[in-house]
């Protein structure tokens, strides 16, 4: 039992830090915007892709960097410390491993390099209006017609679909007795005729999610991943991968740092808020929770690198991780006090809006509103608790 970094690992950390300092796009680090454009995300993605670091957990044969678990941890940590944009998970984290595991050679050869390069922007077509926690009840239908599928249905909560070139999509290819059966995993070109993307504006005023309407969309049968009717297994495989990344420890550490900076700047009757006993206590409680989660994640990673797990225990990372993400935005909102009230316009509202209050207050409440989603998506925290109850506690 040992938690010291080796000299090699420390050197690696230095290399990552220097690379980010030298290569992170200037226009991003100087930005104060609340929303980022497609091009913003891609600019950083391409830098990492060029370096070969865009997909830390991919095997080397597919273009991954061949890092150890510890190196991946260090890389995430440094990116968070530098407050870089994230690499969007839809292609790299979610679809990539699915393709490696289930796709045929032609599919791998075609799609994986385009994910790495950022040429294809992917979105996830899972949820439907009637199928949220109960994903298996999905209704979007794909009927075989010659060497094509004809897809009809209605997806919802599709994150950043407005930018997407492709959607990986769960569709029903057969009606079976059990709803889990008859589901297939299909790759759909978002430029296909019959696809309509309608924005959903969320309570923070942002446009992240969408409805996607599919009307007689024709998809080549070769876009099926795995076998017809085996989509449920793929869906579960993918959701398992989604959960492990969701703890967000490094990002939360960064957010706590910001919270502390704000608390140093805000005053309570002339004294810094961070000296206020009550508020300091809230920060400490959050920090301790986060420290515990960090070690829980490290334990999970260590078990993983020893070939065990991640099992249902990774649901802990989702639950605790999102609770902490929500809490830190809540405390930042509290910290900025009355200046949590002004509403900050989003990216497309034009620039001639006069902002009041200190810079750090801008969007504090909206960020808090936005983070409410984290306990809902990727399987609600109730569903995660059901998973632990069933698969870990045997209840």
């Amino acid at each position: 039992m040992n938690f010291d970094f080796s000299p090699e690992e420390n050197a690696f950390r230095e290399e990552v830090r220097q690379f980010i300092a030298d290569n992170y796009p200037k226009h991003l680090s100087e930005s104060r915007r609340a929303e980022f454009s497609k091009e913003d995300f891609l600019s950083w993605h391409r830098v990492l892709a060029e370096k070969g670091w865009v997909a830390p957990h991919w095997p080397e044969e597919y273009g991954g960097p061949g890092w150890s678990v510890t190196q991946r941890y260090i890389f995430d940590d440094e990116c968070a410390k530098a407050n870089t944009l994230i690499v969007l998970p839809f292609g790299v984290t979610m679809l990539g491993p699915v393709l490696m595991h289930y796709a045929n050679d032609a599919q791998k050869a075609h799609y994986l390099p385009r994910i790495l390069s950022g040429e294809d922007w992917w979105c996830q077509g899972y949820s439907e209006p009637g199928s949220g926690s109960d994903l298996a009840s999905l209704k979007t239908k794909a009927e075989r017609d010659g060497d094509e599928y004809v897809v009809n249905g209605h997806k919802i909560w599709t994150t950043l679909a407005q930018h997407a070139d492709w959607m990986f999509c769960l569709v029903r290819t057969a009606q079976e007795d059990k709803p889990q059966k008859g589901i297939s995993f299909l790759l759909i070109d978002m430029n296909s005729p019959g696809i309509e993307v309608r924005p959903i504006i969320t309570i923070d005023g942002s446009h992240e999610v969408n409805e996607v309407f599919l009307t007689d969309v024709r998809v080549p049968a070769e876009n099926l991943v795995g076998e017809e009717g085996n989509g449920w297994g793929i869906a579960k495989f993918l959701l398992g991968n989604e959960r492990t990344g969701i703890a967000g420890v490094a990002r939360s550490k960064n957010a706590v740092k910001r919270l502390k900076e704000i608390s140093c700047a805000e005053l309570v009757d002339g004294e810094p808020l961070i000296e206020d006993s009550d508020f300091k206590k809230k920060i400490s409680e959050l920090e301790i929770d986060l420290l515990a989660l960090e070690y829980t994640e490290l334990r999970t990673l260590a078990a993983e690198s020893a070939g065990r797990g991640p099992g249902a225990e990774s649901s802990i990372l989702k639950i605790k991780g999102t609770e902490i993400q929500q809490k830190v935005t809540e405390l930042i909102m509290e910290a900025v006090g009355t200046y949590s009230l002004p509403k900050i316009p989003m990216l497309d509202s034009g620039a001639n809006y006069n902002l009041v209050g200190p810079d750090y207050s801008h969007g504090a409440s909206q960020n808090y509103f936005n983070m409410r989603k984290t306990a809902i998506y990727g399987g609600t925290n109730e569903v995660q608790r059901n998973i632990i109850a069933k698969f870990v506690l045997g209840l």
Partner: protein, 378 residues
């Protein structure tokens, strides 16, 4: 000991309820909140016609004599409708302050147009680093002949963009967060040197940061006596809290109700999600927090007229309760609606946002917990 409403109070509630039902359905509300101005002058005139702007005032001043209880009834129904019009700043905060402490001349000049719906008021007391404490005043009013010269900046003035008149707190002596040396002034917002930066707030309301640069005030602008404005201001804020509690329980009620209804009709895994025990218990906890909030809302409105110590204790207790309950109910309502709760198109997210905003108005949970702790039970 009597927790029943009088017949007149019940009639008032029915009237406000009807108004909200007829004129303030969710779509109408969103249209008002998203409009350029963010309020409806038509509604404001109707409030005046219906006597809502007169409700709390003494009959001798042209009011209907309803006091805090009638105010609470109105704000509770307004809370259900997410009403954006500036009832709280105009009638409760400024109107009440004028009624209790203005000179007869000031009352004669200002209360009739306020009650008549012709003039809108806002209370400009908070400052960029004042953090809820009304004694933290940097704005100054220097004596200048008979009158005063006002300089400073007031932040996040609720209803500020619509106001014709402001009541402004300023230091006439002392410094920092000293209790003494604060005076209250009536300021015409159109006066020279007054500049407002208007903006929308997170709950669909409107506020302004308002700066004062060498604004000249007459001697008749002073409310009450020089240097003794803080107790008047604290009292006004406590009345404001009592009214805000009413609005809050109205919002909680709707958010909870919408959640229960949603969970009864939303099916997953072949059953209504409201049949899951963990969700049921969370809705029960929301309900209990709502009931506890109703209790302290009644309590504060029954006690807001007592001595300063009891009033402060009651108001701070109630504000802590509605702050916590509002947060819990708002968060839970969004969460139990799942993805739908995140959508701007559904009402539940707007109750959540309004309940969130209420905590940052008139002092947060933390501020009032400390104020409660430093008070002593009568």
């Amino acid at each position: 000991m009597d927790f029943d409403f009088t017949e007149e109070q019940t009639l008032l509630r029915n009237m406000v309820q009807s108004f909200v039902q007829d004129n303030y359905d969710f779509d109408s509300r969103m249209a008002i909140a998203r409009s350029e101005t963010g309020m409806s002058r038509d509604n404001w005139s109707q409030f005046a016609e219906l006597g809502l702007l007169a409700a709390p005032f003494d009959e001798s001043l042209g009011g209907l004599g309803g006091g805090a209880i009638d105010t609470m009834i109105i704000t509770e129904e307004f809370g259900k409708g997410l009403v954006t019009e500036p009832f709280l700043p105009t009638v409760v905060l400024c109107g009440g302050l004028l009624e209790r402490h203005a000179s007869d001349a000031q009352k004669d000049a200002h209360l009739p147009p306020l009650i008549g719906g012709e003039k809108i008021w806002a209370l400009a007391y908070s400052e960029p680093k004042s953090r809820f404490n009304p004694a933290n005043v940097q704005t100054t009013a220097k004596q200048d002949g008979d009158g005063f010269v006002l300089n400073g900046l007031k932040s996040v003035v609720n209803g500020g963009p619509w106001a014709d008149y402001l009541i402004v707190s300023a230091r006439t002596s002392g410094e920092g967060w000293q209790q003494e040396g604060i005076s209250l002034f009536i300021v015409d917002k159109s006066a020279d040197g007054v500049a407002a930066q208007d903006y929308e707030t997170i709950d669909g309301g409107r506020a302004a940061d308002i700066s004062f640069e060498n604004v000249k005030l007459g001697a008749d602008a002073l409310i009450g006596s020089l240097d003794n404005g803080l107790p008047l201001l604290e009292e006004a804020l406590d009345y404001g809290i009592a009214a805000l509690c009413g609005e809050s329980i109205g919002g909680m009620h709707k958010a909870h109700q919408a959640t229960v209804e949603y969970c009864k009709t939303r099916n997953q895994f072949g059953v209504a999600i409201g049949s899951f025990q963990a969700l049921q218990h969370r809705m029960v906890d929301m309900f209990m927090e709502y009931e506890q909030s109703v209790s302290l809302t009644y309590m504060v409105n029954m006690h807001v007229g007592s001595d300063a110590a009891s009033r402060a204790r009651a108001a701070s207790a109630a504000k802590v309760q509605i702050g916590k309950a509002g947060r819990y109910i708002g968060q839970s309502a969004v969460h139990l609606h799942g993805g739908m709760g995140m959508s701007e198109e559904l009402n539940v997210g707007h109750y959540f946002k309004r309940l969130t905003a209420i905590d940052a108005q008139l002092g947060s949970i933390d501020y009032h917990l400390k104020r409660f702790a430093s008070s002593e039970a009568a």
